[in-house]
Each structure stands twice: as C-alpha cells, then as structure tokens.
C-alpha cells in the first residue's frame, strides 16, 4: 500500500512537471518578423504594379478605352454604380500591399533605418510618393498624417495636404539618394527590379512623379513655369520606370495582370479580375486610331495595342452598350471587333509601366501649350508621339507616314489641346493617369472630341460623369463612419463628387 502511495505521488510530480511547458511560445516558429531590406524591395515593386493595375482596372472603362461586351452588365463600368461592391481592391493595394510594406508598422523603412541603408529609405519614399499620388487621384481625400498610427478611424486629409506630403516624400527620397551612407546595404538588380540600384535614375523618376503631380494643379495654381522646369529636369535623366515580367513563367504571380491568362494571384476581389476577353474597344478608341475608315487605314499602333478579330472588322462599341448598341450592323458579334488581349500592353509578359517617357513629353506639351509656347508644345507633342511609335516597334517609314498624316498636328495653327490629350491618351493606353486628364478637362469634347454620356449610366446620376472610386466599403464605412459622414462619402452618388484638382480645374471648358 505504501509503495502504491509513494508511486502515486511520484507519478503526479513527474507528470505535472512534464506537462509544464513555458508560456513564452506565442511567436510563430516558422515565419520571420524581419528580413534584410534587399528582400523587401522586390515585393514592394511587384505590388506597386498590382496597385496601379487595380486602379486601371476600372479607370480603363471610365476613360473610355474599353466597354463590356454584354453592355449594361457590369454595375461599376457600365452603370457607374459603386454602391453594391463589397471591397475596393485599390484601397488595399495602396495602403497595405505597397504602403504598409514600405512605411507600415512592419515596413521596410524600419529595417532600413536599423541597417543604416538610406538608399532603401530613399527608394522606399519615392515609391510611397507614387503610390499616394496614384491613390489620391482615384480616391481624393484620404488618411495621410494618421496612416499607420494604429488608429482604426484616422482623419482623412484633404487632397491638397496629401499632395504636399507627396512632394515632401519626393524631396526626402531625392535627398537620401544624394548622400548614400557608406555602410548602406547594396542594392543589386535582384533587389531593385526597376533601376538595378541606379540612384540617378531614381532621382529623375522622383522628379517625373513631381511633374505629373504638378500638372494636375498647375492650371489653378499658376504653376506652369515651375512645371516646365520640373518636367525638363525629369526628361533629361529619365528612363522608363517599368516592372518587367519573365518572358516565360508558369507561375500566375509572375504575369502581367492584363495578360491573357488573367492571373489571379490569390486575392478575392471579385471585381478586380481583368475581363478583356469580355470587353470591346470603344468607338472613341477606334475613332482615335482610325485614319481613313472608308479605306481601312489605321494608326499603325492599332494592331500593336490590339489584335485583329476573327472577322477582320474594326467596329467600335458604344460606352456601356457593347453589343446592345442598336446602331451596330445586324448580326454583329464580338468577332467583328479587334481583340484586346495578347497585344503590346496586354501580354502575360508585357512590362507593367509605372511611368513612361511619353508621359513627360505630353506633360511638357500641355504645359507649354497653356503657357502660350505653341512651338515648344508642338515639338514636345510630336516627340511624345514619335517616342510612342518607336516603343511599339513601328518601322521608320511608317512613322514618317503617320507623323505626316491628318491625325497629327503639323503646325502650331493646327495644334489644339485635343491633339495633345488624345495622343497622350493613346500613348498611355490602359493607364489610370489618362482618367486624371479626362477629369481635369471635365470629360470635355474640347479635349476629347468623341466623348459622350454613356447610355446605361443610371438616371439618378443626373448626367454627371464619374469622378472617383468609392472608399473600401468593407472597412472604411464600418470603422470610420464619422469621417465618411463628414465627407459625404456615404451618398449613393459620392463617386460623382470631383476630387480637389478636378473641382478646381480651370480646364473644364
């Protein structure tokens, strides 16, 4: 009996001791909490391309490049109704996927400061500036000062303040890249997928971003002189900021989101899914790229930006109507249009542009045009077109032909703002930046001669044009109702309220 008792007590002591694990095990043993900056930058740059896509996904329809084949079928792109969406992916891509990875509570800037790698700090800030600029251009007012502060209901800063912040980020970025620490971690091509650690190119890119920013406001801030200096400065050292995808890859993560595989690398935003297969080129787009319809003479870029359709026809679909357009010839099918996928910008391995040089030429052209330097404007304008033709691989002879065609202004007398804006629109095909331009010009036919109001935009919008995206319904409207109410963003027609630079724009007529 004794022995049993002793044994029992011993047994108890042993098992209780054995069963005692430590309480300090609330860390994930198979995931890191920090890695070197060189292992953070590629992800940020890849996400930047996704982020720009998430904006362009809708902007390409709002800026009249594309329309759905079925017509009246997509609430956002055909009826301009953003009230039924669950999530707004572009909000997440800016704040989380790009922004938080740079400047968030576990962002690259922290490690860069620890390492003393101010080169990464500089590049990070420039990318953050680009991300903020593109995001505020589609969202308008949004959190800036209180971002990443731990607050779930940060104040929304006016777009004007965000623009100031972006300029400050650019200043700081350029500054860091002008005095790299001796012991900063190196930035090889494996870490910097854009410029392979060429800091001069980064500084020019920062200046180019600044030129884009200043263009949005120059018309009401009397800023053309300053803009012209900036853009000239940018052009001097600029090299295209492109995110490249491998020629061949079996991974859906390594493909351009406009590509024909419609890669869907694991995020559940239903509406962010590219739908070129079920979209058609608009009549606006086809008119812009048609030189002589009767004789089937087209802009040489047409069959670079698109592919011929099955029936070798070149119809254009009316915005929001698609095949429902009653004026289309009877029996028209999608095969009577050019195909949008697998073309220059829409292949799986097409590079994704952050910013291309043509944009700078057209910024310059527009600024000079409004500064009454028509000669300069014409030159820059023609440089922009020519640069774009060359980029798309048009042969020299064809370029000469096109540059002399009726589609291109030949003299300062001919040159109108519409020439500049339409050529920029073609050059920046599928980039959200052209939606900015269109809104700056109030969707006016003085700048975009072929625009018209979409038939299926809901009647309740009262003939107004779409001006912005809605904030992410799944988070902002839940956590920050006061700010949403202050801005009036809960209204059904919130997306028709122009953002700051559009509201103030003097270019609308």
């Amino acid at each position: 009996m004794r022995t049993i008792q002793r044994f029992f007590i011993l047994f108890l002591v042993v098992t209780i001791t054995v069963s005692c694990n430590k309480l300090d095990l609330n860390y994930n043993p198979v995931q890191p909490v920090t890695v070197p900056t060189s292992m953070r930058l590629p992800g940020i740059q890849a996400n930047m391309a996704y982020s720009l896509y998430s904006q362009a996904r809708f902007a390409s329809y709002h800026s009249y490049y594309l329309t759905t084949r079925a017509g009246q079928s997509n609430a956002q792109t055909d009826t301009w109704n953003y009230n039924s969406i669950t999530r707004m992916g572009a909000w997440r891509w800016h704040y989380f996927d790009v922004g938080s990875n740079i400047a968030g509570p576990a962002g690259m800037l922290l490690r860069a400061a620890e390492e003393g790698s101010n080169n990464y700090t500089g590049v990070g800030k420039i990318l953050l500036a680009l991300s903020y600029l593109t995001a505020t251009d589609v969202f308008g007012d949004m959190p800036y000062e209180q971002t990443y502060s731990g607050s779930f209901n940060p104040l929304y800063d006016p777009q004007e303040k965000i623009y100031e912040g972006i300029e400050k980020l650019l200043d700081e970025g350029i500054d860091e890249l002008s005095k790299i620490n001796a012991n900063a971690a190196s930035m090889p091509a494996t870490a910097d997928l854009i410029y392979a650690g060429d800091y001069a190119k980064w500084r020019s890119f920062a200046t180019a971003i600044r030129a884009r920013l200043k263009l949005h406001t120059a018309n009401f801030t009397n800023g053309y002189t300053e803009l012209i200096t900036t853009v000239n400065d940018a052009i001097a050292g600029f090299s295209d900021a492109m995110f490249h995808y491998p020629e061949q890859s079996s991974s859906s993560w390594e493909k351009n989101l406009w590509g024909p595989t419609r890669p869907n690398p694991e995020w559940p935003f239903a509406d962010i899914r590219q739908d070129l297969v079920n979209s058609l080129p608009t009549d606006v787009f086809m008119k812009a790229l048609t030189i002589d319809a009767a004789n089937n003479i087209f802009d040489p870029r047409l069959l670079k930006l698109t592919r011929p359709g099955q029936n070798n026809k070149y119809l254009g679909a009316k915005m929001s109507e698609g095949l429902r357009d009653v004026n289309l010839p009877t029996g028209t099918t999608y095969q009577d249009f050019v195909r949008l996928d697998s073309a220059f910008w829409t292949r799986d391995n097409s590079p994704y542009p952050y910013m291309i040089k043509e944009e700078l030429y057209f910024i310059k052209a527009e600024a000079l045009f409004h500064s009454s330097d028509k000669d300069g404007a014409l030159t820059a304008y023609r440089q922009g077109i020519e640069h774009n033709l060359r980029r798309l691989g048009i042969e020299d002879g064809v370029i000469i032909n096109y540059m002399g065609s009726t589609k291109v202004a030949q003299s300062i007398d001919q040159l109108t703002i519409a020439h500049i804006m339409m050529q920029k629109w073609i050059a920046l095909y599928l980039q959200a930046e052209t939606w900015v331009d269109m809104r700056r010009y109030g969707y006016g036919t003085h700048a975009y001669p072929d625009l018209y109001y979409p038939r299926f935009a809901l009647g309740e919008w009262g003939g107004r044009y779409i001006q912005r995206f809605v904030y992410d319904p799944q988070t902002e409207y839940i956590y920050n109702p006061k700010e949403i109410a202050r801005l009036g963003a809960a209204a059904r027609d919130w997306v028709f309220t122009p953002v700051w630079w559009a509201a103030n724009s003097q270019l609308k007529n």
Partner: protein, 1002 residues
C-alpha cells in the same frame, strides 16, 4: 460465465422441484408519500427469480412458496422485502428514496454532483434520446433537446458542419461555440476549410449522456472558453456482471428535402434578349420545341447509408470494461459524396486497491468524408445548380472519354472561359477530408481518507487530418484550367492534464463542507504541412509528382494554458447550498503583461420545499453570478513576414497584423432559476433567466487598411444576451403497459450590441456580405442582425414611388433584420406500450429573419421562380407618390416589371430578401419494437429490437426558399467569421431520410 450458467441451472431445477407447494399471493403496492398506488412496481420471488409487476391500480398477483421472500421495488423507491407466510394477501407501502431528485450529474472538471444541490442550470440529455434522433453528427442530435441551445447545420451534404450556440452569440468573429469535453478532457471541435465540426467524429452509440453547462457559473471552473458554456459528453463504461453483447445495424435512405423553385419560362440571355453566350436566364421565352430540364430534381439522388455497431461490456467488482466498434458507410443525396467512418472505443476501470482506482480509455476514429464542390468558404455551393440555365441538361457534363463536355464555349476559347454543368465539379473535383483520431484518457483516483480524494487525469486528443481538393484539367477556370491540387496534412493535439483534490466533511451534523482544489494544464499544438500543385502533366494522376509547379507551406500553432482553481461549497441540510469558485488562468496567447486573469463565481440555492415536511413536491430556487475570461487566438501579438511568389521573391507583411495591446475578453453572467417537481416527480419544471455580458470581445476581423494591415485581432466591443429557458419533463400516463413521457424545451434569447471600439456603428461579417444585404451587427441593435437597403418610406411607412411609377430606393444601409428566432420550442415525446415504443420530436421556431441571398442570386441570374411569375407583367406598386405641395397621393401608375426594373431596382433592395420565418418541423419519429423476452430467448438472444425511423420527414414553413435551417458559413468559418446562422447563400437543404434498424443483445 460458467458459474452463472451453473447457478441458473440449479435455481431452475430448485424452482421446478418446489413448484407443487406454491400459493398465489395478491396485494397492492402504494407509496408512503402520497398513498397513491404505484404502477409498474416490480414484485419478485427472490429465491426463484419469478417476477411480475403491478397494474394500473397498483395490484399484483404472484405465485410463491411459504418461506420464500418477495422483493418489491419501483423507480425512485426504497425496495422492501416480505417473507411469505400464511397470509395470501400482502400489501406493501414503499418509501421514496432519500435522493428524490437524487440524480448525479457531471459538472465542470468532471466533478460529480447531486443535481439537488446544484446552484446553476444544467441540462442532461440521455444517450438514448440522442440515438432516437438517428443523426450521425451528435450536435444535430441535440436539436430541440436542450433549452437554450441554438443549433444550425450548414446543410445536407456529408461533412458540412453544424453550429451550436448556448445563450446567444457572444462574439462577432471567431468561435461562439461551447467548450467540448469528452470524459473530462477537452476535444477538438474545430471546423476548418468548411469541413465537419470535429466532435461529430464521436460515435453517438458510445454516449452514455451529455450534460450541458449553459451558463458561465456552471462552466466557471473551466475558466477560458467557459464564456460560451460547455458540453460535457460522458461515454459508456463497463458494468460489473455478466458479459453483455449488443449489436445493431441501421440503414438510411436519404432524399432531398425542401428546395427552392425555379422558373421554366425564359431561356438564356440578358435584358430580355436571347444570347447563347450568356449564363443568365434573362433571355426570350423558351420555344415549344426546346427542352427545359428540371435540373434540381435531376441533380440530387437517393443516398443509402449503412451503420453497424457492436459493443461488449462486463467485468467484476475489480475490473469493468466496455469495448465498442462502429462502422458507418454513408451515402448522400448529393452525387459523389460519401462518408466512411470507423470508431473503436475501449474503456476499462480497475480497482487497484481499496483506495485507488484507475480508468483508461482509448478511442480511435477514422472518418473519411468526400464532400461536394469546393469554394464554399463564403456560402453553400448549390448556387451554381440553382442558377444553371435550364436549357442545359445538368447530367451532361463529360464526354465518353472523360473529357469535359462544355455547355457553351466560344470558338477561340480553349475552355478556360467555357460554361459547364456544375455536375462536372461534383463528379470530377471532389474535396476529401480524411481524419484519423486517437483520444486517450487516463484517470487515477486515490481516496486518501473518507473525506479526501485526489485524482489525476491525463488525456490527449490527437487528430490527423488530411484535406484535399482537386481541380481536374479542363475545368473552366482562368487559373486552374490546367489542373490544380491542394492538400494539407495537419496533426494536432490537445493535451489536458488535471489534478484535483476533493475534500468533503460533515460538520455539526447538518453542515456539509466541500472543497475542490486543482491544477490544470492545457496544451495545444498542431503542425500543418500543405502543398499546392498546378498544371497536371498527366491529367488523371492528381499528384505533385506529375505537376509542373509545386509549393509547400508549413504552419505550427502552439498554445499553453495553466490554471489553478478552487471550488468551495457549504451545504446546510439539503436546504441551502452556497458555492464560491475561483480560477486563475495563464495563457500564452496574450501579451506578457496581461496574460493572467482571474475568474470568480458565486452561487447559491435554496430548496424551499425542505421547509415543509413533504415529499410530494420539491422546489428549489437558485441564483448565480460569474465572471470569466477568455484568451486570444494563437500568434496574434506580433506581425510576421510572408514569402512572396511575385517576380524577385522576397518578403511582405502578413495580412494579419499583430496586436501587442490585446487584453483578455471577459464575460459576466447573472442567472436565477428554479426547479420544481410535482406529483411524485412525474412533473418537473426547470426555469432559468440569465443576463450575460461579453466585455472587450476579442475579434479578428478585417480592419481599415490605413492601419497597415488587412486583418487584426483586437478588443472590439461589448454586447449582452438575455434570455429565458424552460424545460418541462412530465410523465402524463404511466400504467403497467403504457407510458407516455414528454419533454418540452422552450427558450428565447435577445441580444444587444452595447459598445464598439472606435467609431464603429455597423460591423459587417466578412463571410456574409452578399448582394441583398449583409450579416452584420449594429450598435444598439440585436447582435445577429442583417444590414441592407430599403425603399424610401413616408413617416407612416408607405413606400414612396417616383413619378414613373417605380419605388424609390433609399440608398442608406440600415439594420433590416434579426436572425435570432423570437422563440423556440422542442417537444419530445416518448411512448411505450408493452414492447412497442414511439418517440418523436417536434421543433417549432417562431420569428427570426433569414437573409435569402440564394433568391437574390437566382433573381439576378433570372432563374428564380418569381421571375417567371412577374417578369414583363404590368404592375401597380403599392405606395405613395410625392405631390408638389409636399403631400402624398396613392400611386396608380401601372408599370412593366422588365429586366431594367429587376436589375436596377428590385434586387438592389435588401428588404426584398429578408424573410421572417416560422417553422414547425418533425425532427424525427422513431418507432421501435422489441421482441418479448420469451420469444427472444427462444432464438437465443436476450433482446431483439427493430425500429423504423424518419428524420426531418417534413417541415411546415412560410420560407420561400429551401429548408429554412440555414447557416451559410458554418461555425467559426475558418476562424474569421461570426455566426452566419440565418443566412441562406446556396444552402444545401436538409435531407429527408428514413431508416430501419435492428438491435440484438446477447
């Protein structure tokens, strides 16, 4: 065995020899309590074993010899014996046992208590009642049997989980479900990847009974997780005596229950225009020569299930054992889905010495389930069937050579964007969830002295789970057209270690003091190795060996919790009981400075019937208060980086951010109740009222992106639940041959969101944001709300119609529904007549809304029945039109209900898809017959029973959809969603099934 047989023979022999001298004794058996006759009391000649029982007047007649002893016994009565003398009439009065209401129930931490002195509400469900329901998932078997338990299954396909909530929802994300305890140890009831809730692995045949600790006070000794109550499952154990062998076989036939209806008028197209390319059914009318398929009827089949069980029990005073085995091969009404389940349980209790006893058990379960279509994390999957155009035959999905047969494909498309019957997915892209599970459990009791017992329990629930999905090449999909395979293998274990010291002492004769002090360690660990493989090189071999790209991931969650606790009770006579418990928890999942918390409870009961010298009735009042805490999910205090597969690789911030400021969640609960018993325990009533407050709820929802994260765990707010539960047990009729016993469970719970962190006013659940509306919680409103839009209305509530004759949408979303039923009743009846038995459970639900997103989906795609009824018809909306002077006039303008109306008006409005539901449902009815003993013994068995049963044979409801028991995302929804009870998003309706069973005992 031999010895008993011998004894039997000797007795038989003796009885027959003495037969000649027997006399007939008559008499009456009455109760001392009320003087009423006792019906069905057993009268037995001790020497010969001959027995009879009393009739409805308490009378008996038996043959015996002089000098033999008669033994009189009845339920809850102290047996009496009389020696047969000269008198031929022997009347007997039986005294009630001292333990009237002397039921012993298992309470927290396996402490057994006399129900009489309990100071809080518990409810017991016997294994018998559970089995009568014939449900494979024991959570479903509890439907209607527990007052206050809201159970909703996610649908009628094998492997779909069921959710049980006690006393209302207590968190908006994460698990609302009670703690699951089997034989004293915590077991896994998780439901990840939308697979079955794991407690369904337990074989219902092995269950002795289930005790439900509903309130925080009852479960306070469990500390963490007690906030949602606890379900304590006790399995059968061996009984000393001869070996008993019991075997059973059941077979089920399962057919589809209640389905939504479709229209059969319009074919594919959009906006009224025929279009073959469109998946919508908004085209022109079907021509007379076009076939219209009844795809819903064609899709579902009749499923057949076989279920075999056997158990052996026996032992001596020193050693008792119970061994059981079960095998279930379940088919289903959903094609290509099934379940294959084996369970083995061995349990032995040994008395090592006078003072020490040891119980060991092992339970092995293999549960392989093949489930239906994937992609169900945010809804049932039959949406694809409900919306499949009826011009296509759902059964034509593959070519004879096994390649996909597309219903529609554009010329230049290789199939990526094609349309195919949902049957393709069901047949070719199954999901498999294979589980092997070992639950081992050992308990040693050491009775140090008459007043002191020490016990130690060590148990482990070890689960190996494999979850696998395959997407066969050729399946229309942008990403997975060339094949996709995903598999995860998880080995998880819960290790529970409990040491208890129980001290019990009677002082001053009338006072009974007891103290339980203990220590508990609870460790959880899992390792998941998963892989995904894409691009099959050999289409019919889904293996990473033959795919182009593979990717492996690993996860290793761990959690350690410790607790010390004490439970001190004072009982005065049997009249007053007071109890205080305290428990201090330490959990690894909380930040260091807030990782421990204390959970007290105070409770008391007053048995006022003791004041009267009566045994005819019994009455007790009880009151309790408890405050318990809950820890956080694992690894939520810091942020990790994840590897990315984008060009250049590297790392990015994990979407789920860490929160170093987490604090424990608290639940406070106050409960009062009474237990009453009348008519010599033939009528028992238990009523409880509770108020529960959940404070600083820990949630893990999507958070605003400017925080830098997508998802985060934080203390998000407070809410309360209040409710009343009543359970009435009655035996209205009890005669020798016929007994009717009935249980009515009725309950009502209301809730309110009291406080949100920050500025949140309405919180939508991530997994139930649908086009018609969202499952959501709004500040100041009931917790299980629905948020959506309504029409613009006048102050009197009339819908405002615009000048064109269409109602105007009010774009502002508001709370438009409450998914919690207003009132629930479970009405269980058991009848026995001689060898026949009949049991059935009616289940009533009054009120509570359903968000019918399935209908919204069917409307928008044009397959809804209502589209057929209303499309292109002229209609005058019942509403008012604003006049220029500001007044309103009745709308008289007729309009046509065309596509544009439905698309831009009708199905944009949430209130069109919220329905207030009542139902009356026959959950089950089971008719059993056991062969009379005489006949049974003739064929060499001690008992032979057969039963026929029906489960869910019919439901009467006002719901417009399928079966109104819906829960779109199931419990927990992978850990990120709240209860989606009352959300119908492609729910697979509950089946109707019929079963036949055979049971043999040796």
């Amino acid at each position: 065995m031999k010895r008993t047989l011998l004894m039997f023979l000797v007795m038989f022999f003796a009885a027959s020899v003495l037969h000649a001298q027997s006399v007939t004794i008559k008499g009456k058996v009455t109760s001392t309590i009320d003087g009423f006759p006792i019906v069905g009391a057993s009268v037995q000649v001790v020497e010969s074993g001959v027995g009879t029982s009393t009739d409805s007047l308490g009378r008996y007649e038996i043959k015996a010899n002089k000098g033999q002893t008669l033994r009189f016994s009845a339920v809850d009565m102290i047996p009496a014996t009389k020696v047969v003398g000269d008198a031929l009439e022997i009347d007997v009065t039986l005294d009630a046992t001292n333990q009237d209401l002397g039921e012993v129930v298992v309470t927290a931490l396996g402490i057994e208590r006399n129900k009489k002195n309990l100071t809080y509400s518990v409810q017991n469900v016997s294994g018998e009642d559970l089995r009568k329901s014939n449900q494979g998932n024991l959570i479903n078997a509890l439907q209607g049997q527990v007052a206050g338990a809201q159970i909703s299954s996610s649908g009628g396909s094998p492997g779909l989980p069921s959710e049980i909530i006690l006393r209302g929802s207590s968190t908006l994300t994460g698990d609302n479900q009670p703690l699951m305890i089997v034989d004293g140890i915590r077991v896994n009831n998780s439901s990840s990847n939308f697979t079955v809730n794991r407690v369904a692995d337990i074989n219902p045949e092995d269950i002795e009974d289930i005790t439900i600790l509903k309130g925080a006070a009852a479960a306070a000794l469990y500390g963490i997780d007690a906030a949602s109550g606890a379900i304590i499952i006790t399995t059968k154990k061996g009984k000393a005596g001869t070996i008993k062998i019991n075997g059973g076989y059941k077979t089920f036939i399962e057919t589809m229950g209640r389905l939504p209806e479709q229209q059969a008028i319009y074919t594919t197209g959009t906006g009224g225009i025929y279009d073959e390319a469109s998946g919508s059914s908004w085209g022109r009318k079907f021509r007379y020569d076009e076939p219209i398929y009844d795809n819903l009827a064609r899709f579902f089949e009749t499923g057949i299930t076989h279920d075999v069980n056997m158990n052996v029990t026996g032992g001596t005073d020193k050693l008792q054992y119970y061994v059981s085995g079960g095998y279930r091969k379940a088919g289903s009404m959903v094609p290509n889905t099934d379940q294959d389940k084996i369970s083995l349980l061995m349990k032995a209790t040994a008395k090592l010495s006078e003072k020490i006893s040891l119980t060991l058990s092992t339970n092995y379960v293999k549960n392989n389930i093949q489930e239906g279509l994937g992609g169900a994390s945010a809804g049932g999957w039959i949406n694809s069937i409900l919306t499949y155009p009826r011009r296509y035959d759902i059964l034509s999905y593959e070519r004879p050579n096994g390649e996909p047969l597309y219903a529609y494909k554009e010329e230049e498309d290789d199939g990526r964007n094609a349309r195919i019957s949902p049957m393709w997915g069901v047949m070719r892209n199954p999901r498999n969830n294979n589980v092997e599970r070992f639950i081992v459990n050992g308990n040693i009791d050491y009775k140090v002295a008459s007043w002191m017992t020490l016990s130690y329990r060590l148990g482990q629930d070890y689960t190996m789970s494999k979850y696998r999905t395959v997407i066969t090449p050729g399946t229309p999909s942008a990403d997975y057209f060339t094949g996709f395979l995903s598999e995860s293998n998880t080995a998880s274990k819960y290790v529970t270690s409990i040491f208890n010291a129980t001290l019990q002492k009677k002082v001053l004769n009338d006072f009974n003091l007891s103290l339980v002090a203990g220590f508990n360690s609870d460790y959880y660990e899992a390792q998941t190795i998963g892989y995904t493989a894409e691009k099959f090189l050999v289409p019919d071999i889904p293996s990473p060996n033959v795919t182009e790209t593979n990717r492996i991931t690993e996860s290793q969650p761990r959690r350690q919790r410790y607790a010390v606790y004490g439970d001190f009770r004072v009982e005065y006579k049997n009249m007053i009981a007071l109890a205080v418990t305290g428990r201090n928890d330490w959990s690894s999942t909380l930040p260091v400075n807030s990782r421990q918390f204390y959970s007290p409870s105070y409770s008391g009961s007053f048995t006022f019937s003791e004041l009267f010298d009566t045994r005819r009735w019994y009455g007790k009042a009880r009151v309790s208060y408890a405050k318990v805490g809950k820890d956080a999910p694992i690894y939520r205090t810091n942020t990790n980086l994840n590897i990315v597969q984008t060009v250049g690789g590297g790392f990015v911030v994990n979407a789920t951010g860490g929160n170093p400021d987490l604090k424990p969640e608290r639940t406070e609960e106050f409960e009062v109740g009474t237990e009453l018993s009348f008519l010599n325990r033939r009528l028992n009533i238990d009523v409880a009222y509770y108020r529960r407050k959940s404070i600083d709820m820990i949630m893990t929802p999507r958070v605003p992106l400017p925080s830098g994260y997508v998802i985060m765990t934080f203390n998000a707010g407070s809410l309360w639940n209040r409710g009343i539960e009543a359970s009435v047990n009655a035996i209205p009729v009890k005669t020798k041959d016929f007994t009717w016993s009935t249980t009515v469970n009725a309950w009502k719970n209301t809730s309110r969101m009291m406080e949100f962190a920050g500025d949140i006013v309405t919180f939508k659940y991530t997994n139930a944001q649908l086009n018609g509306g969202s499952a959501a919680t709004t500040l100041g409103d009931p917790v299980l709300g629905i948020v959506g839009t309504d029409y613009r209305r006048t102050e009197e509530g009339y819908v405002i119609v615009d000048a064109n004759g269409y109602p105007i949408i009010d774009g502002i979303e508001r709370n438009i529904g409450n998914r919690e039923p207003k009132f629930n009743i479970g009405f269980l009846n058991r009848f026995t007549y001689k060898n026949l038995s009949l049991a059935f459970l009616w289940d009533f639900r009054f009120g509570g809304d359903i968000l019918n997103a399935s209908r919204q989906r069917m409307m928008s795609v044009g397959t809804a029945y209502d589209i057929g009824e209303w499309r292109d018809k002229e209609f005058v909306f019942n509403g008012v039109v604003a006049q220029e002077d500001g007044s309103y006039a009745r709308n008289t303008k007729p309009v046509v209900l065309d596509y544009t109306y439905f698309a831009t008006n009708y199905y944009q409005v949430g209130t069109n898809f919220v329905e207030t539901i009542n139902w009356s449902r026959l959950r089950f009815v089971t008719l059993g017959y056991s062969l009379p003993k005489k006949w049974a013994s003739r064929i060499g068995v001690s008992n032979l029973g057969i039963e026929i049963s029906a489960q869910n044979p019919f439901v009467i409801t006002n719901y417009s959809g399928g079966d109104p028991e819906v829960n779109s995302a199931g419990p927990n929804a992978g850990g990120s969603g709240a209860s989606t009870m009352g959300v119908d998003n492609g729910a697979i309706p509950l089946p109707r099934s019929f079963s036949f069973g055979l049971n043999i005992s040796l």
